[in-house]
């Protein structure tokens, strides 16, 4: 891949992954992704982050278009997850760096990943500085954005903040800057990334952005480790404001009806719930879980203030796909949502109580009454489902 000079003597030297859709084993990156790494040519030639292991040789060739990789003096590992540190061991062997800089939690993470022998690792706490010659790097720990080891690197002379996973998007493109693509596509990719990775740490996002603002850093470029770079003050402000909006999780007048079904009874109920939401003027989307991945559901939930979940009863439980979705959702800790539960059953009918308990456990405000039906819903039951949709819609509007 061609390196791109993003600032004088600072080069994007990452890898574009056009075809990996399974992102880290739990979400889908339907448009591929990039692993961004940045090379600074100064008195000390410094590499910020690496790329995922399968791209190692390509990565080394990309660096070689800028400098001989063996001349790299310093490596900064802002985050030790293998999509960014996947080539670290190979680089250490090739480059024999004078120093490797990590956050204090990064040191622990590095040891647990690589079990290194004699690597010249140095811990950098928030506020620690490193001179590269003409420029100085200031390190900022950004714990839980999104791992304990996460760190950002600020290059004051260049007004550049290398943010690691924060502000990332899964988009495989030849463009390197956010202003080169359609804004709605950019925003969709930012929300998919946030909703599946950053969401549980929304309170940390708010505190960390406030702390960075308190440091009065002059920033005119945010360079994340996935996707496109935000250049210029307006785009930097856009990225920060978008993150603050995502973190606030203010309810929106939109509902998601997610369901799984065996013989289409729960599906009929789902469509009736949608009708009820429409009656209340709430925009809604139905998602059959067999047609959508759990990460698509979480991305959709980013736009919704209400969630209705439907599952039939299977052997005294709920369908395993819905159980998996709700486990995934619970870990991502969505906030400020109202919810409803419905489902069909054959003989015992535990589904709606199980769903209600799971949703309550996630701090969703669950509306009553849930609707369940033995085998196939008739007109009366579907009317109850419409009413459930209306009740959910009213509960949502009361929160707007």
């Amino acid at each position: 891949m061609r390196p791109v000079e993003i600032k004088k003597d600072i080069f994007w030297v990452g890898a574009v992954d056009w075809s990996t859709i399974d992102f880290h084993g739990y979400s889908l990156a339907r448009k591929g992704t990039t692993y961004n790494a940045y090379l600074v040519k100064d008195e000390k030639i410094t590499l910020f982050d690496t790329v995922k292991a399968p791209f190692c040789e390509e990565f080394i060739e990309t660096i070689a278009q800028v400098v001989d990789p063996a001349k790299i003096d310093y490596i900064v590992a802002n985050h030790l997850e293998p999509d960014h540190a996947g080539c670290l061991a190979r680089l250490v062997e090739l480059v024999k760096p004078e120093k490797i800089f990590v956050s204090p939690m990064g040191k622990r993470s590095l040891e647990a990943h690589f079990h290194p022998q004699g690597w010249p690792v140095e811990e950098m706490k928030t506020g620690s500085t490193l001179s590269l010659g003409k420029r100085t790097v200031t390190f900022i720990e950004t714990r839980m954005l999104h791992w304990p080891d996460s760190m950002s690197s600020y290059l004051a002379e260049d007004k550049l903040l290398i943010t690691n996973d924060a502000f990332g998007q899964n988009l495989a493109t030849t463009e390197r800057f956010a202003d080169e693509i359609d804004r709605s596509k950019l925003r969709a990719a930012m929300s998919a990334y946030y909703g599946n990775i950053v969401l549980p740490y929304s309170s940390v996002v708010e505190k960390t952005l406030a702390a960075i603002q308190g440091m009065n850093l002059d920033i005119d470029m945010l360079a994340p480790d996935h996707g496109l770079i935000f250049r210029g003050e307006a785009d930097v402000r856009y990225a920060i404001e978008t993150y603050l909006e995502f973190a606030a999780q203010k309810p929106k007048n939109r509902a998601l009806v997610v369901y799984d079904t065996m013989w289409h009874s729960t599906e009929k109920m789902a469509f009736a719930v949608v009708d009820g939401l429409m009656d209340e003027g709430v925009s809604a989307r139905a998602m059959h879980l067999k047609s959508f991945h759990q990460s698509d559901v979480m991305t959709e939930l980013m736009y919704c203030g209400a969630l209705a979940v439907g599952s039939p009863t299977l052997n005294n439980g709920i369908l395993p796909g819905i159980a998996g979705l709700l486990t995934y959702m619970k870990g991502l800790r969505p906030q400020n949502k109202v919810a409803a539960a419905f489902g069909s059953f054959g003989w015992s009918g535990e589904c709606v109580n199980i769903l209600k308990n799971l949703l309550t456990d996630m701090n969703f405000e669950v509306v009553e009454p849930q609707v369940k039906v033995k085998h196939v819903p008739d007109k009366d039951v579907l009317a109850q489902c419409v009413e459930l949709g209306r009740t959910l819609g009213r509960a949502l509007k009361a929160k707007l």
Partner: protein
């Protein structure tokens, strides 16, 4: 009353007895030592033994 603050060594969250952890059902005024043994860090989920006294 001691009111010592404790810091999560994993994510840096600070437990302040004056605030408690209302989302986790812990009332303001609860000392760190009086938190239930199964209480976990509200940010990263680390267990109580991963906390150190601030200072």
């Amino acid at each position: 009353m001691a009111q010592d603050r404790y810091v999560c060594t994993i994510c840096g969250y600070t437990y302040d007895p004056k605030q408690g952890d209302p989302d986790g059902g812990i009332k303001p005024g609860t000392e760190f030592k009086d938190l239930p043994e199964d209480w976990t860090c509200p940010v990263c989920g680390a267990s109580k033994d991963q906390f150190e006294k601030e200072g």
